[in-house]
Symmetry: C2
Subunit: 778 residues, 2 copies
């Protein structure tokens, strides 16, 4: 059953070499040429692009791997997805997709002929054309390789629940120095060969970065092999600078690797010795086959080959001649002539057309259970306390059960502590290292992915979503900043794909941030940071959404909405601690549908408020309702309107965000001239940023987190940031005309209550029982 | 010369065990007790804290290591700094600092006696007390261990340029899963044993995280050892659960490790075989010596020992009794009685009082060369172009030369490409792996730290600064988001230390972001993100500063100011591309001193502007001045005022930021009623956020980056975001009363010029020469 490894035939060798040379020619052509693509005439300056952009250095290695993988794919009828870690090698990947014909299928204006070749060259890194890196525009890709660090995590995410698929992941030796990549080697300990696909990491050591050698290319060989063995792999080394030798070695290495992957597939599920997965270490010269020297300085196999090896081609006749000689060295007329024989290396299932790389086209909607059985019964708003995430956990349990192979839950180590533990009634935590008695819901095929690396959680989830599946990432609010930059890149990917017709919308990337700033009182200042929301709203309005459900049923409704949505990043912030349930499921759904609304049952303004008490977030809602309770009990004539915001983007004008409100609607809610006291979950200035264009903006007074905190009690935390009920009452008294004088005594009582609460906490180490007397009364 | 390793004496063994038990007692006492610290009376519920907070699980391992390191420090007269990766083990570290007497020196109210012990217990994780983690408040620490991931990078940063120092770095097996930690093992390849101190990594495998096993504790032993060898270390294993055996093994392991470190010190500089540095793998039970079972469920050596192993002590008499038995098992009366013999383990130079941990107290000011020799001559503003960072590079070269052992430059791989290459005239890139002919300025003792990991650059620099030195981090603007969360933690550390009198201010953390959003046109969308500024300004105003120098001399002056400053995070964004020099050094200094000012030479308003053209950032300044040139040439009667902002925080009210302007000053610059067209480097809404309280806010119209970009030309990039000179002129015409009608023809010309520029770029692949005709004319 195991395919046997034969010596590379001369015909295969010739075809591989031809493919490689063709791809190298096409790569250099994209970097340099805007005319004369086949060199039918002598090269002249006007054929050269005015701005020479692109990365030559990494490209020959990528082309080499693509050619060789094609041979293996054909010989073994494999389903392979290619992930390009060194994504700067964009022209190389484009060259291969064009050779396979996929590029012309996707972009019919760029045919698989000489005119098409000219267009392929011209549009690369050209205004109005395509980016210089592997990008969303690149067929067959799920990975923009610009930032570096995420290729291997993406590869594993793509392999999960895709048995039969092999993800060939090229890792550059520069990328290998990054933290996220260094952690990604652990992914192998979370892959189940029975139910997942395989990942073949290919560490490409071409030795240099922009100006420096790569560290892994310079450590002793025994150290490098130890490292890979330590990560659980069986490394296979290929090294050389003579093409024919490297072709033979690499072909043998790939045969060994795929033999081993077959063994593992056969082993899977059986007992006995588990074969170690293979990985390949490939050492070839940077900028291989390019200019050896330029102006007397070595270029090939040095850092100088990183980008454009011959810079002054338009102005410098010697450079122009050197470029022409270099390009002609590949023999374009032979390569692209009638006798071209690299065509036999086009597989029936080419990597450039792997359907997994356009995950949206494969996307199956999630089966989402109706919410009713999970909802909390609410007789009267605020009458009873519920752990907000617990019903969501029960619902997620049934989402997992109803969607085998199509949904996973990701997080550092907090599913249970975030009160989502119900999911363990139907599945386990994924683990593929030793499992011992006493371990809690740990299994090789669990659907809960817990690893103490936000980078891995995010990278795996992205790979999973981009290949057409669904997922949820739950984490600490403060530490989600660890993946700020990964979020950026994913949001940019989503934004770019909106303009690419052949890319179909994928499932949204959903964050549930349950351990949030107001309930990190026990961990202290280092765990208190609500700024991820601010980071997210900098990205394009079309692809980002932020939700702050105030209670258990609104959280359920929000989750249901987010998991059904497409092509967004949804950020949900909702605490796991017991908190009042305000809305019945029906009311919650209604509220979520509108995103923002007046809570009539808490208001007494009859359309003519003296003050608007706005709130967004569970803790701010709790404090606001308590303040409203105090005001209504102690300032009887005061007309208070309560506005709750669950969909933060509703606050923006509709010209700025698809969820934004027209001015008339905003004015109807927040008035045009009455004071608004706004209790907000995060940094207060975000509310100003979202509302500065509104008529009543000057009257909006926002309380939120102002970067004050420590290890203390929950109520002390809100007091430290002036978000507490007492301070909100004082804010109203200070802002509603006439109240300052009339309610001076109440203001003093509030001030005293704060002082007493502070002192009590410092003496007794817990919140004063008295606080509970100042509350919302249903 | 090498200290010989002797068998552990019985006296040493007894002292170590006593220290360990004492520290364990003090750890548990901090978690539980608010009275009866020495258990002089039977334990009652009122002795127990109402909120039980703290992490027991990791603490016995930390205490064990501290006790053993003390023996070695005394025996060998060592200078050791302790870095606590599992920083949740705060009570353990506090216990050891109290045992050494340092805690009482720093906090005299907490004496080294029974009353002091009571205060030590009570204040831990208590409102008004100290945080639950290792934190700035902890003597001897440079590392807040809450977020996890940065311990080893901090350790290496502390060791750089500190020959004679050994940094013992405990890495938790949870932390070991994070990306930054996984990359940090590479640090050893950047340490020079001749001029740097040593780092002894101690990987502590207690096996569990919150609910999961730790991956590295569950992979095959041979894999783990391979991994450590692959990172270049010689691992020494210690494993056990019988205290006496572990004491003997660990003592021998530490002796071996320090013998090896001595060998390396002797070897350093000599030729011949280089000894491999040691590291220790320590396997001991999680929550060792704590409750074995609680309510019939195993706790010791399981994930259940992670935080508070006995939860219900105040309410549950059985738990209370179990706690009392546990605490008494250590023998507090013997441990803290007159015959206590752990006292002999207090070293003359205790780790808790290592002066390096209070780096501000050791800080030597940098010798900063006068700027004059580096300044660009400016006869007329904007008459000539200069690469903005090149003079800064020459100045940095001389900063490096003048401050050996006190300053380093950090960055992923971009010092040369950021035009700072002059530094290589006096130093090299640091590298401690193989160096081969053709490498460019690579040496084991270079002072430029380049590694393709922003996490490592940031972590090393933090460790270097926190131990009393200076540095600069230069990076891509978009990818500095990779360290958003590390920046958060450092800014929180700085904010917290402002309130700790014994902590002295340290050198500022300086970022120079030279490859910025407007000059990533060749890399494309993935490299375009100016949001780090937005992220930074969420942190406390007292510790953050943002500078946008518009040209070479203002950059010089800004760098000079930042490198001399203390206890800030300074973010400088300034491009490396050729750009006009606007100000002479004298004018630049003056402008930087004020932070914002009217450029009289570009204005013609004579105190009565029709429009204010404001700009912040080099590219926005270039476009603004070009627009002003157009307006002054074509709309002669128009009175234009040009305001340039170099210190962004000047825009905030003085009530919000120490650099903020009073309203009167703001109004004098920006008027109270005239249109302001503000060209800003980053996301435009930040300017609104900073100015929404100002009188004239409704008239401020901001252009900036609105998340549009691709691989194109520089001018096309500004056009894509409506920040170009033509659009700015149109904005003025649209906003100044009367101009829309009068200057309709000019507006149309601007519109046409944009259209032509766009079309030219798409056809020719470069910016239209015509653009240069529409410019600022000196």
């Amino acid at each position: 059953m195991t395919p046997t490894t034969a010596r590379l035939s001369d015909a295969d060798l010739a075809a591989i070499d031809a493919w490689w040379r063709a791809a190298n020619y096409l790569t250099a052509g994209q970097i340099y040429l805007m005319g004369n693509p086949m060199l039918r005439e002598p090269l002249r300056p006007e054929h050269i692009k005015p701005r020479l952009l692109g990365h030559w250095g990494t490209s020959p290695g990528l082309n080499l791997l693509w050619a060789h993988l094609n041979r293996v794919i054909i010989a073994r009828d494999l389903d392979v997805l290619f992930v390009t870690g060194p994504g700067h090698g964009g022209p190389a990947i484009l060259a291969n997709t064009w050779l396979e014909g996929t590029y012309s299928q996707v972009y019919p204006e760029v045919g698989r002929d000489e005119a098409g070749m000219g267009r392929l060259f011209r549009r690369f890194s050209f205004p109005g054309g395509v980016p210089s890196h592997v990008a969303p525009e690149t067929p067959g890709s799920i990975h923009e390789g610009g930032e570096l660090g995420y290729s291997l995590a993406h590869a594993y995410g793509a392999a999960f629940d895709n048995p039969g698929l092999t993800v060939a992941c090229v890792i550059g030796d520069g990328e290998a120095e990054t933290g996220p990549l260094a952690a990604s080697w652990l992914s192998q300990r979370f892959l189940d060969p029975r139910t997942d696909g395989a990942v073949l990491p290919i560490l490409h050591l071409n030795g240099y970065k922009i100006a420096n050698p790569a560290v892994l290319a310079r450590i002793p060989d025994e150290d490098l092999l130890s490292l890979m063995r330590g990560h659980g792999f069986d490394p296979i080394e290929v090294e050389g600078c003579t093409p024919q030798d490297v072709h033979r070695e690499l072909a043998a290495a790939l045969d060994r690797a795929f033999d081993r992957l077959s063994e593992i597939r056969w082993w899977a599920g059986a007992s006995g010795h588990r074969p170690r997965p293979p990985m390949i270490v490939l050492r070839t010269p940077k900028g291989w086959t390019g200019p050896v020297e330029v102006d007397g300085v070595p270029v090939e196999n040095t850092f100088r080959a990183h980008q454009v090896p011959l810079p002054g081609v338009r102005e410098n006749p010697a450079h122009l001649a050197q470029l022409e000689a270099w390009l002609r060295s590949y023999g374009p007329e032979e390569l692209f002539g009638p006798d071209a024989h690299h065509g036999r290396l086009i597989p029936a299932r080419p990597m450039s057309a792997n359907p997994r790389a356009n995950g949206g086209a494969l996307l199956r909607p999630l089966a989402l259970p109706p919410l009713e059985p999970y909802a909390v019964a609410v007789e009267e708003p605020g009458a009873s306390d519920v752990e907000g995430t617990r019903p969501a956990g029960e619902w997620l349990r049934d989402v997992i059960a109803a969607n085998p192979e199509n949904f996973r839950l990701f997080g550092p180590d907090e599913v249970a502590s975030n009160r989502l533990g119900a999911v363990f009634e139907v599945t386990d935590r994924r683990f593929n290292a030793a499992i011992v008695p006493g371990d809690d819901h740990l299994a090789p095929d669990g659907r809960v992915m817990e690893v103490l690396s936000e980078h891995l959680c995010q990278g795996w989830l992205e790979g999973y979503l981009l290949t057409g599946r669904h997922g949820l990432f739950t984490s600490y609010e403060a530490f989600i900043h660890i993946v700020d930059s990964m979020f950026n890149q994913h949001a940019k990917w989503l934004k770019s794909t909106l303009d690419i017709p052949w890319r179909r919308p994928i499932a949204s990337l959903n964050y549930l941030l349950s351990s949030h700033v107001w309930r990190q009182d026990h961990n202290g200042f280092s765990h208190q940071d609500p700024g991820f929301i601010d980071h997210v709203v900098n990205k394009k309005a079309e692809v980002i959404r932020v939700y702050l459900p105030p209670d258990a049923n609104t959280l359920l409704s929000t989750m249901d909405h987010c998991l059904a949505s497409r092509h967004y990043v949804n950020v949900i912030v909702a605490g796991k601690q017991p908190q009042p349930a305000w809305l019945s499921l029906e009311d919650a759904r209604d509220h979520c549908r509108r995103g923002v609304g007046i809570w009539e049952w808490a208001s007494n303004d009859e359309g003519e408020p003296d003050v608007v008490m706005a709130c967004a977030g569970d803790v701010p809602t709790l404090e606001t309702l308590a303040a409203v309770g105090i005001l209504r009990a102690h300032v009887p004539g005061l007309r208070v309107r309560v506005v709750n915001v669950v969909d933060l983007m509703r606050l923006e004008p509709d010209s700025e965000h698809p969820h934004g409100m027209p001015d008339a609607q905003f004015d109807a809610l927040f008035t045009t001239d009455k004071p608004v006291v706004f209790a907000y979950h995060g940094y207060p200035w975000l509310i100003h940023r979202l509302t500065y264009r509104r008529t009543n903006h000057d009257n909006i007074h926002v309380r939120g987190y102002k970067e004050e905190g420590t290890t203390t009690t929950p109520f002390d935390m809100v007091m430290l940031n002036d978000l507490d009920r007492f301070h909100l009452v004082m804010d109203v008294i200070d802002r509603v005309p006439g109240l300052a004088v009339r309610e001076a005594a109440l203001r003093q009582r509030m001030y005293d209550a704060r002082q007493r609460a502070r002192a009590y906490t410092r003496e007794h180490g817990e919140d004063a029982p008295e606080i509970k007397d100042w509350r919302w009364t249903p």
